[in-house]
């Protein structure tokens, strides 16, 4: 475990236990297969059940809905470990937990919670979260609509870049509600007539997780499937805040893998009669990775404590998502460089992590969008548009 500043001592006994158990799970069950799943363009469906058995899906929810009542810090430790194997595998857990189970639990009726959460927690069901459209970073430009029609809503529109949509049993879809002029959330079983989810092919990033579109053609869902507590864009954005918090931890898991691989390689690789690890230029790269990892871990831990105290603010999360992911991306690039030609092959995990992190840097709010959030925090001036 890479922990220069002994952040582990700041954790509770349960948080350490969650970290250790997930670390063992990742080492035994994920690391040996991560490259194979990447090559195959998706992890097997059964992995979601394995995640479910392990309690990795929605673990912060209360036990009556299949959760474990974990602290935010413990959840972060688990995400760190999953992403140590692969960002796509962490995505499976964070989409299902933060973006599907999260809004159903926070905004859904008791009926919706009882109907969907236990199956999602066990991994029997796969869920997806449909927010992004053509408008990309600007969710307020949403064009998908929901029209009330008696005891139903009729959904029309399309979503892109949706993790797991081609596999999903259920989608949480965000749409502009006609007559209300605000965004609402809907639980849409994917076998509803008019629902389709074509897969997006040709991905060079996050290949262990399947990505698709959602196309809604006059898709009728019972009015009871509306997430009644979600009124306006703030609702999906609050789910993203949760997921981003987890990503800030996950990125550091990936960075640990890049750093560990580069360090090991540099100690063994001899050129000009000396291990390259003895060269200042190589040490600078390792030192930078170690420094960024150490600072990032303190940052994410602090965020977790604030979250557990109910004091977390979106700009704080923007800071952590932005900086930790970029640190991991730069670290993966540096590690690739340290490995030389070997770094471009699948024999080492760094190129896979590097390619994955290109997605992580973009999704859940791009690096630059989070910069603008922080800029607004600094100046009070909105520079988005």
């Amino acid at each position: 475990m890479l922990d220069l500043l002994s952040v582990r001592d700041l954790l509770t006994s349960e948080e350490r236990a969650v970290w250790d158990a997930t670390r063992a799970f990742t080492t035994g069950e994920l690391l040996p297969h991560a490259q194979g799943w990447w090559d195959a363009g998706g992890a097997p469906r059964d992995l979601m059940r394995r995640f479910g058995e392990q309690g990795l899906l929605g673990p912060t929810l209360p036990p009556e809905y299949g959760g474990a009542g974990l602290s935010a810090v413990a959840y972060g430790c688990a995400m760190y470990e999953l992403e140590r194997a692969d960002s796509g595998l962490r995505s499976l857990a964070s989409v299902q937990g933060s973006l599907v189970m999260g809004p159903i639990h926070r905004f859904g009726s008791e009926d919706l919670r009882r109907r969907w959460l236990p199956g999602l927690a066990s991994g029997e069901l796969v869920g997806c979260f449909g927010l992004t459209e053509e408008g990309g970073s600007d969710p307020a430009a949403m064009r998908t609509t929901a029209r009330a029609d008696g005891a139903h809503y009729v959904l029309t529109g399309s979503k892109v870049w949706i993790t797991n949509s081609p596999l999903a049993d259920v989608a949480v879809v965000w749409a502009r509600v006609e007559g209300e002029d605000r965004v609402g959330g809907f639980v849409v079983p994917t076998d509803t007539p008019g629902f389709s989810a074509p897969k997006i092919d040709g991905k060079l990033s996050l290949r262990a997780s399947v990505t698709g579109e959602i196309v809604l053609r006059e898709c009728r869902v019972p009015a009871a499937n509306r997430l009644e507590g979600a009124r306006g864009l703030g609702a999906p954005l609050s789910c993203l805040t949760d997921a981003r918090y987890g990503i800030s931890w996950g990125a550091l898991g990936s960075l640990e893998t890049s750093y560990g691989t580069a360090r090991e390689f540099a100690l063994g690789r001899v050129t000009f009669g000396q291990p390259i690890a003895s060269r200042q230029l190589v040490q600078e790269k390792l030192a930078r990775m170690l420094a960024e990892h150490s600072k990032g871990l303190l940052l994410s831990w602090r965020l977790g404590v604030l979250k557990d105290e109910g004091r977390l603010s979106p700009p704080q999360v923007s800071l952590a998502k932005r900086d930790n992911v970029r640190a991991a991306l730069n670290g993966a690039r540096a590690a690739r460089e340290v490995l030389g030609a070997s770094g471009i092959t699948t024999a080492y995990p760094v190129m896979r992590h590097l390619l994955n992190l290109e997605t992580v840097d973009t999704y859940e709010g791009t690096h630059d969008i989070h910069t603008l959030v922080l800029g607004r925090e600094a100046t009070g001036i909105n520079a988005f548009g």
């Binding site: 475990m1 922990d3 002994s6 582990r8 006994s13 349960e14 350490r16 236990a17 969650v18 250790d20 158990a21 997930t22 063992a24 799970f25 035994g28 058995e53 392990q54 309690g55 990795l56 673990p59 036990p63 959760g67 474990a68 009542g69 974990l70 413990a74 688990a78 100690l267 063994g268 690789r269 001899v270 291990p275």
Partner: protein, 252 residues
């Protein structure tokens, strides 16, 4: 029946330990349950899942941080834990006195201990405990069942593998391959918080260490830092053989 499984805490395999002032310095190292003891806890759980009506008690003798390892055992499924908290480092013979006493006072039928004890490598703890209790000891087990109040199982001997039966109570030492320990699940980690973890002091057992560690060194093996180019596999294999034979001198 009641099963006692002994838990030791050791640095994880990745940990880089240092020596400070003649003692191994665990500061900053991640400490985990000894793998051998994971086999013990897992086997106790399997005996119960296989139909034995068993209560499983996890025991640790050591510093406060051992609590983490006990919590892991509880999260795997042990029913309760006893922690004899002490900063003293106990040699296996002294430790066996504590284990035997607890086995007696708790009315234990089966004691499971690690075969090797990852941080002492003495292999004496199981034997010493069995000796004190006058119970049979079965070592290096790689299969274990309870049937009609008796143990049956397999264990490794020099010539191969033997099948045995033994009466209870008994002491069994574990080894790699006995089972595949489960990962504690996140819900079970949280549930383990509510399970009983009793604290005892070493004084209660009247035990003082008989052996004192006065110095420690870490074996450092320099790397040869030689990378063999694998483009031509046959040439690479030949080169490896030649290095192992003539330079490392590990094969004839």
């Amino acid at each position: 029946m009641k099963i006692l499984t002994l838990i030791r805490q050791v640095p994880d395999a990745e940990a880089r330990v240092r020596v400070t002032n003649g003692a191994v310095d665990l500061e900053g190292a991640t400490l985990v349950m000894d793998g051998m003891d994971e086999y013990g806890v897992e086997q106790a759980l399997r005996l119960r899942e296989g139909g034995a009506d068993a209560e499983i008690v996890a025991l640790a003798v050591g510093p406060r941080r051992n609590e983490d390892a006990l919590r892991t055992a509880l999260a795997m499924g042990a029913d309760r834990a006893v922690h004899v908290e002490t900063d003293a480092v106990l040699d296996p013979i002294s430790l066996s006195k504590v284990v035997a006493r607890i086995a007696q006072t708790e009315g234990i039928d089966l004691v499971l201990v690690g075969g090797q004890q990852a941080d002492w490598d003495s292999q004496a703890l199981g034997a010493a405990t069995a000796e004190r209790l006058g119970w049979p000891q079965l070592t290096w087990t790689n299969g274990l069942q309870v049937q009609d109040g008796a143990l049956t199982g397999r264990h490794d001997v020099d010539e191969g593998n033997e099948t045995f039966t033994a009466t209870l109570p008994a002491v069994v030492t574990t080894q790699q391959g006995l089972n595949e320990p489960r990962y504690p699940t996140l819900p079970n980690i949280m549930k383990a918080k509510k399970k009983e973890l009793r604290k005892d002091t070493l004084d209660q057992y009247g035990v003082t260490p008989l052996v004192r560690v006065v110095g420690a060194e870490i074996q450092a093996r320099a790397r040869m830092n030689r990378v063999i180019d694998g483009k031509d596999p046959q040439a690479a294999a030949a080169q490896l053989l030649e290095l192992l034979r003539n330079e490392a001198k590990v094969i004839a």
